[in-house]
Structures are given as structure tokens and as C-alpha cells.
């Protein structure tokens, strides 16, 4: 997908009171098999796009970057990550394209967002540098992950 717009996430009482020292958004099982891209993360956004200023006032919270594998050069199945249970006697490293976990430090942005209500919405926009001949950033059909979790720390 090019962008992800979350369902509202409930904020805990401590978060609503601002009683946290740091906070992360954690993205699980992020695909990195394709091209490189940056995923821009916005909190409680309204109408964000590639040209939205990356400022706290715009809801911008941070980003994560995928330095992509660049596609497969092997035979069919070469880049397929095994989904079967791993044999306990198999000491080889994980498949290189095993999805990654990404963390975005959103502590500062969450301190602002919590003032807007007891729920949080998150938008993630995958962008790539302007393609050849293009004059601006473009969105990329590159964003795939299985779950996103908000963590606040005391």
C-alpha cells in the first residue's frame, strides 16, 4: 500500500495526563524485499500528502526508512520467506528477507497529540525520491506490515 490510516487507538490515562518519558510506534513484520522508501508517520493528521511539511504542527511524528532489497534475481521461490515452523536442529540464519521490526520515536509528537482527545489516529505515508524526470517526491506501493503498536514508557 502507499499509505496506512489507522483506526483510532485508545490512549491510556497516563498518556492522556502526559505522564510518560518516551513513546514509540512499533511496526511489525515490515516488508523490505522491494525498493527503498521512507515511511512518514503523522499523528491525528488531516489530509496529509507527500508535500505536507514535516513539522510537529502538521502532525508529523517521525519516520522509518526501508533500505530495500531491490527485488529478486533468483529463480522462482528464491526470495520467498519460509512460513513453516523452523526445525529446531536448523541452525542457519533466518531467511534474509524475514520481515523487519521498525520503531519510530514519537514522544514529542504524542505530547501534542494527547491534548486533542482520548484517541489517536496514525497515518503512514510511503514516499520515494522523485522518479527520473519527476519534480517531487512520489508515493510508493511499498508499505506492508502486519501490526502497529503504540508503546509509552515511564
Amino acid at each position: 500500500m502507499e499509505r496506512f490510516d489507522s483506526e483510532p487507538l485508545p490512549l491510556s490515562p497516563a498518556v492522556l495526563d502526559g505522564e510518560f518519558s518516551a513513546a514509540d510506534l512499533v511496526f511489525y513484520e515490515v516488508d523490505h524485499s522491494g525498493e527503498s522508501f521512507e515511511a512518514l508517520v503523522f499523528l491525528n493528521p488531516s489530509g496529509v500528502g507527500p508535500s505536507t511539511p514535516l513539522k510537529l504542527e502538521s502532525g508529523f511524528a517521525g519516520s522509518f526508512v526501508v533500505f530495500g532489497h531491490g527485488g529478486c534475481i533468483g529463480d522462482e521461490g528464491h526470495c520467498d520467506v519460509p512460513t513453516f515452523h523452523k526445525d529446531p536442529f536448523d541452525s542457519r540464519p533466518l531467511h534474509p528477507l524475514t520481515p523487519q521490526t521498525k520503531m519510530v520515536d514519537i514522544g514529542e509528537a504524542l505530547q501534542e497529540a494527547r491534548k486533542q482527545g482520548d484517541h489517536l489516529t496514525v497515518s503512514v505515508l510511503a514516499t520515494v525520491p522523485g522518479a527520473e524526470g519527476a519534480d517531487g517526491p512520489d508515493t510508493a506501493d511499498a508499505l506492508f506490515f502486519s501490526a502497529m503498536r503504540l508503546l509509552a514508557y515511564d
Binding site: 519516520s63 526508512v65 533500505f67 534475481i73
Partner: protein
């Protein structure tokens, strides 16, 4: 015992220092270019193509063992170490320079100039990628890799709209994290920003290491890890990572924790005379 360690047994072997490219003198840059040009001429397994290819194509994509994983920093430290040893095997007393992209907000001039003062091609500017790597990339499933495979000489498109270099404030924040996982994960993302900002072959794992700028960028990343280590106990990495082998460098993560045991450290600049 690795080389360079100032132990009683090897007092005569000093730790050498990687300099900031922005502080290098013209003669120092000239010698570095001479060494790099020689390395690029070697076509066997000692040469530039072999070491650039370890990261991506042709073949193994070893760096896939390191990206998005706790081994990101130790794997690339081992990689830089082996590349630097190969560079020094040319017979020149040079060390890899680092590019501080928080201060030098453009590709350093030494890497931009297409010619050396004597008119010869600048080996820090661009490199011709070997045919096998290009052939493999031409068959990739992704259009970006196929596009780059059609460009045999590495190029950059730095600073395209929508790309960003990490700022000093962002890096200062990351250096303040005390948990290794949080530190390396965030630093790796900023490292990715630089690859994307540089553009061209640097954006693509299969070809990134062919661009000579790759090494200066990764020395900066390695330097930041070194700085973090000095503030956060040098061995504060997960125990499970310590014995992990950094393939294909024959080094474990534990063996690369202390740069001085690998014979190097970081300095802003250096000047040297001999009697």
C-alpha cells in the same frame, strides 16, 4: 591479537585514525585517491569489485544478514575493516575518511569532482560496475534495480525532493538512547535516509557499495556507534549477538566491539611527520 592493539607485545603498531573528509589536506586526499584507484584496478578477489559486491550483487547479498537486525552495526564495522585492509594492501598508508553529513550538507567535494588535479578520473566520484552484477540486476523483479543495472557507471542524484539528510539534533537524540536496540534501530533508519538522499546507485542495496561515497557514509555511522559506545559501556550489546559470526568476514560481533583492537579509531584530522 588483532593488529594495531597497543599491547606490550605489539607496541610498535599504532592505532590509526580515520579522518573527517572535510579536514583532509590536498596531499592526503591525493594519496587516498591513488590507493583507491589501485584497488579499483585489481580485478581479482583483492580488488574493489569484490568488496563492493559483498554488499549486494553479484550473488550473495551478504548485507541482508545485517539490515533491520541487531547485527547492522557490527556487520558493517567488520565490512569496513576488511575493505580498509584491502585498501592498505595497495601499499599506501591511508585510512577510510568519514563524511559528517550533519555538518557537510552536500556530497563532499572530494567525491563530487570527476577529475583529479592531474586530469585523471577521480576514483572517489564513480566506479564502473562489473558485467556480472549488471546482468543479474537486469533480471531483478523490481524496476528500480533493473533501471540501475542499465547504468554501468555509478551516479548520484543527491537531494531530490522528498529526501532528507539527518540533522545534528536528530543524531544527538539518537546518541542519547541508552538501549542498544533503540539506538541501532533509529540510527539505521537515519542511515537509510542518507542512502536515499544520495540517490542513484546508493539507493539500492544491490549496487550501493559500488559508489565510493558508501564507505564515507558508513564510516560516519561506525563513528557514531563508537561515540555511543564511549558513553554507554562498550560491550552493551545483546549477549546473543556477541558470538554471531559476521559473514563473510570471519569475525564475530564480539570481536569488533572495540575498534582499537582492529587497529583504528576516529579523529577529526591528522598530521604526521617522519624523522
Amino acid at each position: 591479537m588483532a593488529t594495531g592493539a597497543p599491547t606490550p607485545q605489539r607496541q610498535a603498531v599504532p592505532v590509526r585514525h580515520r579522518p573527517n573528509i572535510a579536514e583532509m589536506t590536498a596531499p592526503q586526499i591525493a594519496e587516498f585517491r591513488t590507493a583507491l584507484a589501485k584497488l579499483q584496478k585489481w580485478t581479482d578477489d583483492r580488488g574493489y569489485q569484490r568488496w563492493a559486491g559483498v554488499h549486494g550483487l553479484p550473488g550473495q547479498m551478504y548485507c541482508d544478514l545485517a539490515h533491520g537486525q541487531p547485527s547492522f552495526l557490527p556487520w558493517h564495522r567488520a565490512y569496513l575493516y576488511r575493505f580498509e585492509r584491502a585498501l592498505r594492501d595497495t601499499g599506501h598508508d591511508v585510512m577510510l575518511p568519514w563524511w559528517d553529513w550533519t555538518k557537510t550538507r552536500e556530497v563532499p567535494a572530494a567525491y563530487r569532482e570527476t577529475k583529479r588535479p592531474d586530469g585523471k578520473p577521480n576514483p572517489m566520484s564513480s566506479v564502473r560496475i562489473n558485467d556480472l552484477a549488471l546482468q543479474q540486476g537486469a533480471n531483478a523483479t523490481r524496476p528500480r534495480t533493473r533501471f540501475l543495472a542499465g547504468k554501468p557507471d555509478t551516479f548520484r542524484e543527491s537531494g531530490l525532493p522528498g529526501t532528507r539528510l539527518p540533522t545534528h539534533a536528530q543524531i544527538t537524540r539518537v546518541l542519547g538512547y541508552h538501549d542498544f536496540g533503540r539506538f541501532t534501530g533509529n540510527l539505521e533508519d537515519y542511515h537509510g535516509n542518507v542512502h536515499i538522499w544520495a540517490g542513484g546507485h546508493m539507493t539500492d542495496i544491490p549496487y550501493a557499495a559500488y559508489d565510493p561515497l558508501f564507505w564515507a557514509h558508513h564510516c560516519m555511522i561506525d563513528r557514531l556507534w563508537r561515540m555511543w559506545q564511549l558513553d554507554n559501556d562498550q560491550v552493551s550489546i545483546p549477549a546473543s549477538l556477541r558470538n554471531q559470526v559476521m559473514e563473510p568476514f570471519h569475525l564475530t560481533a564480539g570481536q569488533v566491539l572495540d575498534p582499537t583492537t582492529l587497529g583504528y579509531d576516529y579523529a577529526l584530522s591528522f598530521a604526521q611527520v617522519r624523522p
